[in-house]
């Protein structure tokens, strides 16, 4: 952050070149605009304008042949009366509240273990990171197979210790939790790398001092490691929450297809958006779902930013 301030100092200390200042400045500006132009135009057309258009579309109803007409707040009225929205909101919330903390807790544990000056860090890191580089389509496929109630490895293993495994992905009461397990499994490697970097930034001398004071490993974890790791935890929780609110891939791939009896009770907000917008042609309705999602994410992020002061320690 200090680098942001330094350049001004340098520029002031340097003698001004003899060239007419205005012409130089103008050419600087021209270069800046030229260099930003492609990205600005692209973002404008494909990202900024679509936000405006989605908000507009959320007030329209779509007919055949790509026509739509203005219907005011009808979509929102319908949406808030739609039991699917409330199911989707509930599921998105359960997913977020379980998957994000579980992933953070396990990732911290593994990062702490890896940070103990042991051999083979990069070997372990490679293995834990494999799910991160694997596409959701393949992850979903292999887990569906593992979860398979009749031939799946998981229920077989449970059977050997006398447990009758559930129908993981077709039981409406279980399916969401089955997906959460996979989501945690596939996110651990990424978060672990961030935490490991955070841990490596904690000076060894803190631990040495605590050791002299007679602190045990558990107390050191709670009084040194955890507080000093809070900036990393804050970063991971913000990005994971935003991601969790948009959960779609795994839900769609593992459950949402093929008339699975658990599909309706497992839908999330992003899934509701997708099915309305791209499968049943309710574009206006889907746009309203997208706007609700946008508002939700903005509120949650704002709350986190506010709360940050209460628990995140910056040196």
């Amino acid at each position: 952050m200090s680098s942001q301030l330094q350049p001004e100092v340098h520029a002031a200390a340097r003698p001004k070149p003899a060239k007419p200042l205005n012409r130089m400045k103008r050419s600087d500006w021209l270069w800046a605009y030229l260099m930003i132009a492609p990205t600005l135009l692209g973002l404008g057309l494909f990202y900024i304008w679509p936000v405006v258009q989605t908000i507009y579309l959320s007030f329209t109803k779509w007919g055949g042949f790509g026509k739509y007409k203005w219907t005011g707040v009808d979509n929102y009225v319908l949406l808030f009366q739609d039991p699917n929205l409330w199911i989707a909101l509930k599921n998105t919330l359960i997913y977020t509240v379980l998957a994000v903390p579980a992933s953070i807790a396990i990732s911290i544990l593994i990062a702490v273990l890896l940070n103990q000056k042991i051999k083979g860090i990069s070997f372990y890191r490679t293995l834990y990171f494999l799910p991160v580089v694997t596409m959701a389509a393949a992850v979903a496929m292999v887990w569906r197979w593992l979860y398979n109630a009749d031939y799946g490895l998981i229920n077989y293993l449970l059977g050997t210790v006398g447990i009758q495994g559930p129908r993981w992905i077709s039981d409406p009461d279980i399916a969401l939790y089955a997906v959460i397990i996979v989501a945690v499994w596939s996110s651990i490697g990424y978060n672990m790398v961030i935490f490991l970097a955070g841990l490596q930034g904690i000076p060894r001398s803190y631990y040495e001092a605590a050791e002299i004071d007679g602190a045990g490993p558990v107390r050191m974890f709670f009084t040194i490691t955890l507080p000093l790791l809070t900036p990393s935890i804050f970063f991971v929780s913000i990005t994971s929450l935003i991601g969790a609110f948009q959960v779609f891939d795994l839900i769609y791939l593992m459950i949402g297809k093929l008339g699975n009896p658990a599909a309706e009770s497992t839908q999330t907000v992003a899934y509701l958006f997708f099915t309305n917008g791209f499968e049943s042609g309710n574009g206006g309705y889907a746009a309203a779902v997208a706007v609700v999602l946008l508002v939700l994410i903005l509120i949650v992020t704002a709350i986190q930013m506010k709360m940050q002061k209460k628990w995140v320690h910056y040196d």
Binding site: T39, Y47, I188
Partner: protein
Amino acid sequence: MSVQTGRNRVGKNLLIHLLLILGALVMVAPFVWMILTSLKTLGESTQVPPVIWPTSLQWENYTHIFEMLPFYDFYWNTILTTVVKVVGQVFLCSLAAYAFARIEFPGRNALFIVFLSVLMVPGQVFLLPQFLIMKELGWLNTLTALIVPGLFSAFGTFLLRQFFMSLPKELEEAAKLDGCNHFQIYWRIMLPLAKPGLIALAIFVALWSWNDLMWPLIVNSTPDKMTLSAGLAYLTGEHTNMTNYPILMAGSVLAIWPMIIVFIFLQKHFVEGITLTGSK
């Protein structure tokens, strides 16, 4: 005393390794099962209790999938899309990032706030209009649709701007006095200095592009224009509804090995890239 602590250390390290190996098994087991299943016959794969090792390796599963689906097209579409997006996005983002980080111009802060606000918006908010634009332009079911929106990125511009701001200014000042213009400074001085940042962004773009599902699913519905990710989803979708798991697993292995190889070789850069975003 020292013998005691030495023994404790060995015991502690053993316990740590034990825990880490246990965790690693959970991470790796699904991949092992994927590969093993991909080499079994359909009969073997559905036996109870499960057959661990296939009696004879069924490599035919891998050739079979090429007969069922245009898998060569999947590869070509995915590779081309990924390469063009990586090169295009890294170039365009670094250009914009240089201007934001190094040139003072009217409206810089306002424009930067516009870029940042794009970062806050969930993807679903862009998708419908993006789809309509593709339809309008007649790009549905083309590789152009897969590529073009992915050339522009607020995230990439932000990441590289932060990186450029952390670089020293001296070389650049000298070049300016020598009469270099901003593009020359960017191209000859900044880009070589910013290599770690550029590689980090390239890795992110490649990973997202290779594994992306929703966008390819939306814009391209004909199999020969699909990516590996969408193709795999198509394989289990309502059209084909495949339940032949050995073949499905063969397809999965074929879809994921390139990224895994890239990761193993560039592991250091993956870690640096993630750390870079995590520390901003």
